[in-house]
Every structure is written in structure tokens, then in C-alpha cells.
């Protein structure tokens, strides 16, 4: 048990790095997602297609391949990134693509009557968007976007493959010293599960509060 506790202690700093990576890339990914979601409806066909390609490639590639592409591929083009910036770029692309899909489908999920009613009331299109459609879409989008955040945290384990010192790297190094891989990886699993389970309980509670007034 002592060994297990000291394992948890050793993994602590890695957890900090993982949370940093998740937080930073999520903040950027939500912005990217919103921009992409709006660009997909742009007037210019080229802009539309470019946005769609960014989204589809971001969702279609394994995150592992995206990370390799950035960390091992970009130096080919003369762009060297440290593990953390490389991971942030890769995560932002992948998570941002998913976020944009959530935002887009949430906007489409607002009943069409709302748009028609706004038009019938004589609201300008801009106002209809800002005061009628977006608030309702946001309410639909928030729970899945929060679940995406949990997913992003779990995915930080992949940054291990591009030598970021997060939980998995700490666990692997620890295991190679103590030769107690089982205990150390169980400790890592407990850490990930604790964060994910607590976070998803919070999301569920928040979801109930959101729906209280509906």
C-alpha cells in the first residue's frame, strides 16, 4: 500500500502537466471549433471547403498520427516544436474539429419554428442569431462540450508518445525503476478514473440544472 501511495505521489507532477495540456488545448479548441462551425456556412465556396477539410481530417485521423505528423513531421518543413507546444497544436486540431461538429449540430437542433418566429417578429438576422438562436444552441451544446473536455483529459495519455512528461511517462519511468509495472499502472488508472468520474458527475449535475427551467 505504501508503494502504491508513493506511486501516486510520483505521478502527481505528470497529472499537473496533463491538466495543463488539456486545459490549454480545450480553450483553444473551443475557439477553433466556433470559428470552423461558422466558416462551414461561409459564403465563399473555397472557405467552406477549407473549413470542411480541416474538420474532416481532424476527426478522421487518429490523434496519435496527428501528434506524429506535428512532432516528427513538421521538422521536415523546418518547424521544430517542443513536446508541449506540439501536443497543444495536435490536441487543438483534433478536439477543435469535434467541438465544431457539436456546435454545428446544436445550432441545427434548435427547432426551425424559433427561426421563423424570430423572422415573423421582424428581428434582423443578426439579432435573431444573437438573441434567439445562439442562446438556445448554447444550452444544447454545453453538456456534450463538457464531455469532450473529459475525453480530452483522457487523451492526454497519448502525449506520452511524443515524450511529454505527463502521467503515462511518469508511470513508465517509475515502473522501469521499481519493476512493479502493475502497481504503477493501476495507480495511473486510478488517477485518470478519479478525475474522469468526478468530472462526469459534475457534468451530469450541471446538465440537470440546465434542464430545470425547460
Amino acid at each position: 500500500m505504501d508503494g502504491f501511495l508513493s506511486d501516486l505521489q510520483v505521478l502527481g507532477p505528470g497529472l499537473g502537466t496533463a491538466l495543463q495540456l488539456a486545459g490549454l488545448s480545450l480553450a483553444l479548441a473551443y475557439v477553433l471549433g466556433l470559428v470552423l462551425a461558422l466558416l462551414v456556412d461561409a459564403r465563399h465556396q473555397i472557405v467552406r471547403i477549407a473549413a470542411l477539410v480541416v474538420i474532416e481530417v481532424g476527426r478522421g485521423l487518429p490523434l496519435l498520427v496527428i501528434l506524429y505528423l506535428i512532432y516528427r513531421g513538421l521538422p521536415q518543413a523546418g518547424l521544430y516544436l517542443d513536446p508541449m507546444p506540439a501536443a497543444v497544436v495536435g490536441f487543438t486540431w483534433s478536439i477543435g474539429a469535434y467541438a465544431s461538429e457539436i456546435m454545428r449540430s446544436s445550432l441545427n437542433a434548435v427547432p426551425p419554428g424559433q427561426r421563423e418566429a424570430a423572422a415573423a417578429l421582424g428581428l434582423a438576422p443578426r439579432s435573431a442569431y444573437r438573441d434567439v438562436l445562439l442562446p438556445q444552441a448554447a444550452r444544447i451544446a454545453v453538456p456534450p462540450l463538457m464531455n469532450l473536455a473529459i475525453k480530452a483529459f483522457q487523451l492526454t495519455s497519448l502525449a506520452y508518445t511524443i515524450t511529454l512528461s505527463e502521467v503515462m511517462q511518469a508511470a513508465y519511468l517509475r515502473g522501469s525503476v521499481t519493476f512493479e509495472y502493475l502497481r504503477t499502472f493501476v495507480a495511473a488508472a486510478v488517477l485518470y478514473a478519479a478525475v474522469a468520474i468526478v468530472a462526469s458527475l459534475l457534468v451530469r449535475r450541471f446538465e440537470r440544472r440546465l434542464n430545470r427551467h425547460v
Binding site: 490523434l63 521538422p75 497519448l158
Partner: protein
Amino acid sequence: MFQYTGYILAGVGGTVAITVAAFAIGALLGVPLAVASRSGHRLVRWPAISVIEVLRSVPNLVWLFLVFFGLPEVGIRLGPWATAILTLGVTSSAYLAEIYRGGFSGLGQGQWLASKALGLTTWDRGRHVLAPQLARVVSPTMATYAISLLKESALASTIGVVELTFRGGLVSQRTGDGLTTFVVVGVVYLLLSLPLAYTSRRVDSRLRAKFSVG
């Protein structure tokens, strides 16, 4: 670099094999898990829900390392392929169980009660009333999950399974051209997910056509 394209493409078989095998295991194990998680008995329901939650809360990479590096300490030695297929299969069962559960609750109580009123046995109700309807409701979601499992299979490369991503890693080391290599690998993943995406969209629109009465 392109002289190695054939070598990379030879990894398609491995990637597809892991995806198909893990999906089959998950689809099978997911059924009892989903049924148990909806059981009326608390002693059946709680363990099933806990198993689903724990499997989903720990990242797949952690499960892979736990099984591959940890379990030999207690005498369970699995090769890279077996580890990848079994681990991804078991974690898939949790995700697929959730998909089945969603399908159950989507069907509503009416079908179940009506078939009970008709005097069908529990087995017949499950086989002739629930299962066929459930299959239609959940198959698009299952196809979407299959696509994410295809991408998830890239994780197997981290424990030495020689599939698509692993081969890409070798070639990028050999040629020093990570950019081209992982672009090729990425394109292959996109091409692999296209047929699945196409099928899921077709099944989905056919279902919509069938059920969009009201």
C-alpha cells in the same frame, strides 16, 4: 520515401484485423453488460454499471500498458496482438453497452409492455420484438463507434503491434521523412474510414425514411 508505401500499406491488414476483432468482442460482451445494467436487481445492476464506468474512465492507452506490462507480474503473459485485441475488445464492450442502453430507452416501454400483454415469453419478447427494433436504432451509432475504434487501434503501435502506425514510425525513422510518411499513413486511415462512414450515413438515412412518419 514512396518506395516504402507498399511496406506501409501492408499494415492495413493488421489495423483492420484489430478493429474487426475488437469490435466483435465488444459487440458480444456489450449485450450482457447492457442487459445487466438495466436489471431490476440492484446486485446485478450496480456491478454492471460500475464495470462500464471504470472501463470508460480509464484511457485505452493505460489499459493497454496495464495489460501488456503489468499483468505478466501476476503470470498473465499476452503477446502484443492478443493484448491489443482483447484490451480494445473489452473496453469497447463498455462503450457498446452504453449504445445498446441508449437504444433500449429510445424504444420506450410500450413495445415491451405490448409484447407482454400478448403473452410472449421473455425470451421471445427479446428475440422477436426488442432485438430487431434495437438493431435498427443502434446500427448507425455502432458504425460511428467502429470508426472511432479504427482510429483507436493506432494505440496498438505503442506496445509493438506492427500495424499501420507502427510501420509509419519505422519508415519515418529509416528515411528521416516523417512528414511524407505520416501524411501517407493519415490518408490511409481516412480511406479506411470512408466506407464505414458511407454505410453509416446510408443506413441512417434509410432508417429516417422508414420512421419519419410523425
